[in-house]
Symmetry: C2
Subunit: 198 residues, 2 copies
DNA sequence: CGGAAGTTTCAGAAACGATTGAAAATCAGC
DNA sequence: GCTGATTTTCAATCGTTTCTGAAACTTCCG
């Protein structure tokens, strides 16, 4: 393998993707491993990753496991080779659907549950119990909580539409919206064509 | 102010919101300050925040500044009081529009720019220069980069539609989608009504 | 079985980002 | 332009998260 041009571009991509990961609350290394697998396009084994990214075996193993859990990387077995290889999901939309699905499940759903609990804590019953003077404050507090809750409920619905098998429709809608939005409002960047990705 | 029920619920909300912040790459304290202002509903000054959240003056000041920059908190002046007070945006949708706008500007746009640069590095010209054997690899590499780029372009468009003044339309669409998605695909949670939030 | 190849776990170390607190800057009113 | 109240800045410190490396484990094959 020649260590120029392509490798250099790959390394840059890995760095950029890793940086983005940390801005969104994903461990930098995990994002880097994913970036390497994605940009490389071919299955790599733990040792390849350790070497290329200069990370420890433990770290490589943990990151791989996490990516597997997220469903954006899959195991690949090669005949006559005991090592496990890993390959990144190569369809960008499928990848983002998986990410959205997981983040909703891990972060938004629990958040909603907790918000509901808090809301119950000051429900109509509780407000009355606390005394007549507190009424207005309780009411306003509950209203704010309810608005948030309603927002997250909508978010949940949109995300379900996007994530589901039928979500392809939303994806198409997004492309159209993206096109319109980009053309009508954006800074006039080249909007490209609208040809299908899948 | 009685230190029961309502305060307790507020504290819980602050904690939950702060936790969520850190999962999304926002400083926990900043999210907590915002949570406090949001759930409290009324303007608070630096000292109020320091006291309630038990944080230093410097931290409170920095966090406030950051929230102001994000456009989800505004200054409030009171006659006969030199102190500055701060109040959180109370419209949930406006708040999320602001957050989306800022995150796109700060993280997605620079990412796109860097991706473009990397793409240029291995553009058609560069590929030819590097030798005929590398052709297929370069091509595949560029294809992957292009797919990502196209995805982010669509995202940019959707976000513009959502964020713009005309974005109210998208918001309404989101509600409908949320309703359909939630009812048709979700685990049958109570879908609530579709009454307007604004 | 025994052992080689590969993978996972985890306690401690290192790196990183967040927080403090005191000093410097700013500002309103006199 | 001084004074005292308020806000901002920033180097030092602290706390959390991530990473390492070696040991434990699992799996496959002869």
């Amino acid at each position: 393998m020649q260590p120029t041009q392509l490798n250099e571009a790959q390394d840059r991509f890995v760095a950029v993707w890793g940086q983005m990961g940390s801005a969104w609350g994903i461990s930098r290394t995990m994002a880097e491993v994913h970036a390497l697998l994605y940009i490389t396009g071919e299955p790599l084994c733990t040792d390849d990753i350790m070497e290329r990214l200069r990370i420890s075996r433990g770290n490589a193993s943990m990151s791989m496991r996490a990516l597997l859990d997220w469903g954006i990387v899959e195991r690949v077995h090669r005949r006559g080779d005991r090592k496990e290889y890993f390959k990144a999901e190569s369809d960008v939309w499928a990848m983002f659907r998986a990410i959205v699905r997981e983040r909703m499940k891990r972060e938004v759903d629990p958040l909603r549950a907790q918000l509901y609990e808090i809301r119950d804590q000051t429900g109509e019953r509780a407000g009355e119990r606390a005394g007549r003077e507190q009424g207005p404050d309780f009411l306003a507090h509950n209203k704010r909580l309810d608005e948030l809750l309603r927002f997250f409920q909508t978010l949940e619905g949109v995300s379900n539409s996007f994530v589901s098998p039928a979500g392809r429709g939303l994806q198409a809608a997004a492309k159209i919206l993206g096109y319109i939005g980009g053309a009508a409002i954006g800074p006039g960047k080249d909007a490209g064509d609208t040809k299908e990705a899948g």
